[in-house]
């Protein structure tokens, strides 16, 4: 009797441990991770796919154009949002900068929105008297940009009872700072239509 009870317990333990959930997922029946590169068609407002397509085509066109000889220093300006919707254009700039950086064709000077931190740090090191002399970054050695990169995004939105059509146009240009000449320019057009 004792033996039978013991073996029953052993069987139950073995079964329970065999069926134990060893998946590394906690909770989340309706939640899942998706493909960040998927074509997003949830609504026809500006979305992740548009951002990725713009950054990809602009970067490659610029890197392959042959303008960026000898890894020149480029300063990136924020993309102007001329559309009727809110777009975090800083993200377009960041994506373009990241991808250009990976191509190894350009170097980047402090952006206009990072300049304050750069100046603050230089001032702190040189004026506070807190740092060891030979470790202090010297002033007057920052590298100036040869080119500036400027872009804008605009949209045309049309609505009828059956359709909503959005046309985005993103343009980017590379301007020589000294001469003021635009050395390279490209644009990307995107059309998105919703049928109601």
């Amino acid at each position: 009797m004792m033996f039978a009870r013991f073996s029953l317990l052993a069987v139950v333990v073995a079964l329970a441990s065999g069926c134990a959930n060893n998946s590394p997922v906690l909770g989340g029946k309706n939640i899942g991770y998706g493909d960040s590169k998927a074509v997003e068609l949830v609504t026809n407002e500006f979305g992740s796919t548009d951002l990725q397509m713009i950054a990809e085509s602009m970067t490659r066109s610029l890197a392959q154009s042959g303008i960026l000889q000898g890894r020149p220093v480029v300063q990136v300006y924020d993309v102007k949002n001329k559309t009727s919707e809110y777009i975090d254009t800083r993200e377009i700039t960041t994506s373009i900068k990241t991808q250009l950086m990976k191509t190894g064709t350009a170097r980047f000077a402090s952006d206009n929105n990072q300049m304050q931190s750069q100046v603050d740090q230089l001032k702190l090191q040189n004026q506070s008297g807190l740092y060891k002399k030979n470790t202090v970054a010297k002033t007057g050695n920052m590298i100036a940009a040869k080119y500036r990169l400027e872009g804008s995004i605009s949209s045309i939105v049309k609505r009828s009872s059956d359709y909503k059509d959005v046309f985005y146009k993103f343009s980017l240009q590379l301007i020589d700072v000294e001469s003021g000449l635009a050395e390279w320019m490209d644009e990307k057009e995107i059309r998105k239509t919703t049928e109601r």
């Binding site: 590169k37 998927a38 074509v39 490659r60 890197a63 392959q64 042959g66």
Partner: protein, 124 residues
Amino acid sequence: MRLKLLAALATATLLAGCATPPPPAPGSAASKVVVMGKLSNIDIGPMRVARENGFMTVKVSLTNTSRSNKTMFYRFAWLGNDGFPVASEESWKTLSLYGSQSTVLPAIAPVPQATDFRIEVQAQ
């Protein structure tokens, strides 16, 4: 008896030949295409591969063989000398083809290290 054996042998060879289509020759245009699922009515034709200003550029010709408009999804994967990807995955893109339309799909490699590519395609 001999004839029968010969016939059986011939049939067997034929069957074996038909069972699996031969894999595309390495380096051919077909060997660069990865079809996810079934791609009906879209023909992927010749490809032009070049190196311009240090970056690999590819042009792929596509034809919609049906008379209705087709939408397909595609992306390129860029490989290095070792056959492994040299850049992170590209985002998927859509391409609309009108009925019977032929077009050319251009692409530029994201980094100079890319020496080979694959085009992944999927029909809607």
